[in-house]
Amino acid sequence: MSIRSQLLKGILDGCVLAVIEMEPVYGYELSQKLLNIGLADVSEGTIYPILLRLQKNGLIRGEMRPSESGPNRKYYFLTEKGQEALEVITEEWKQISKPVSELLAGRKEG
């Protein structure tokens, strides 16, 4: 596994929740949105174990409804608990990312 995908693994839950927060999505849409954001280092299938886990923990819920292209798809919605979890993750990420960015940006060139 590349360093990047290892780093990503820990924060992917947060990314998935954040995408779902913007608007309800189904699996394929979600993977395309993650790709478009620039998170191309996880295989698309990886979202399914994550979606199952988030569902089991009550952070999101799935609902069958017709998609734009016609057939029924399982759309995921953020629950209240998911909203709270996303706030926590966002806060934690800020606390880690800022010092790490500063530390790594401050390295001596060479």
Binding site: G27, S31, E44, P49, L51, L52
Partner: protein, 223 residues
């Protein structure tokens, strides 16, 4: 949408996969469905999502390997780990139904067999509940063992890792033959213990018929 409808839809949609993707997806599907302790509804839902995803990906020129990775078994294990377990109250009627079905048919076959045989020879229709129970329990354990054994072998044969179909078939036959021999031997040599009662062919046939009828009615009501 319930699990049965999802399975039907899955069967139709799967036809649109190209051979390579179909091979990959089918193994994934069998591997997940073999875990019968998992919630059927949840399993079928995620299987449908992945099929939809694969079909969308196929239209965009991607393969199953691109989407789900090079390690289908590892991926399937990750999925399985996250699918909730089936609730026990759903499992009990399911297993109970199977057992009642088998008992019903055994009683009917016994009834017919004894009716035919009694035309030619004298048949002993006495039944020793305790001895019968011992044999039934042994058969039940044997069947359970066979099911788990066969599921294990199928699970191992998936994802093109080791193709040992011939060897596996021989193995299953051998174990089944051994088990049947044991059943017959126990039936022959188990002494008649405890009280007994007369169980005629007619009673056997009727009881079996009633049992199957009840199962049929329950099934009809559920559908």
């Amino acid at each position: 949408m319930n699990a049965k409808k999802l399975i039907e839809e899955n069967n139709i949609k799967r036809e649109s996969l190209n051979p390579e993707n179909q091979a990959y997806y089918s193994d994934l599907l069998i591997y997940i469905r073999l875990k019968f302790s998992l919630s059927e509804q949840q399993s079928e839902e995620v299987l449908m999502e992945m099929l939809d995803h694969l079909l969308d990906g196929q239209n965009a020129g991607k393969t199953a390997k691109d989407i789900f990775g090079d390690d289908p078994r590892g991926f399937a294990d990750e999925i399985i780990e996250q699918i909730p377990k089936e609730e026990k109250r759903k499992l009990i009627p399911f297993i109970g139904g199977i057992i009642a079905n088998i008992v019903g048919w055994v009683l009917i076959i016994r009834g017919i067999l004894y009716l035919v045989l009694s035309q030619f020879t004298e048949v002993k229709t006495e039944v020793y509940p305790f001895s019968t129970l011992c044999i039934v329990l042994f058969i039940a354990c044997f069947v359970l063992f066979m099911v788990v054994f066969i599921f294990k072998l199928i699970g191992r044969s998936l994802f093109n890792e080791k193709s040992t179909t011939r060897k596996d078939s021989i193995r299953v036959c051998l174990v089944a033959a051994l088990g049947m021999t044991a059943v017959l031997l126990i039936g022959k040599f188990l002494p008649d213990i405890g009280p007994s009662f007369d169980f005629s062919w007619l009673a056997s046939l009727l009881l079996g018929g009633i049992l199957l009828f009840v199962i049929y009615v329950i099934k009809l009501k559920k559908a």
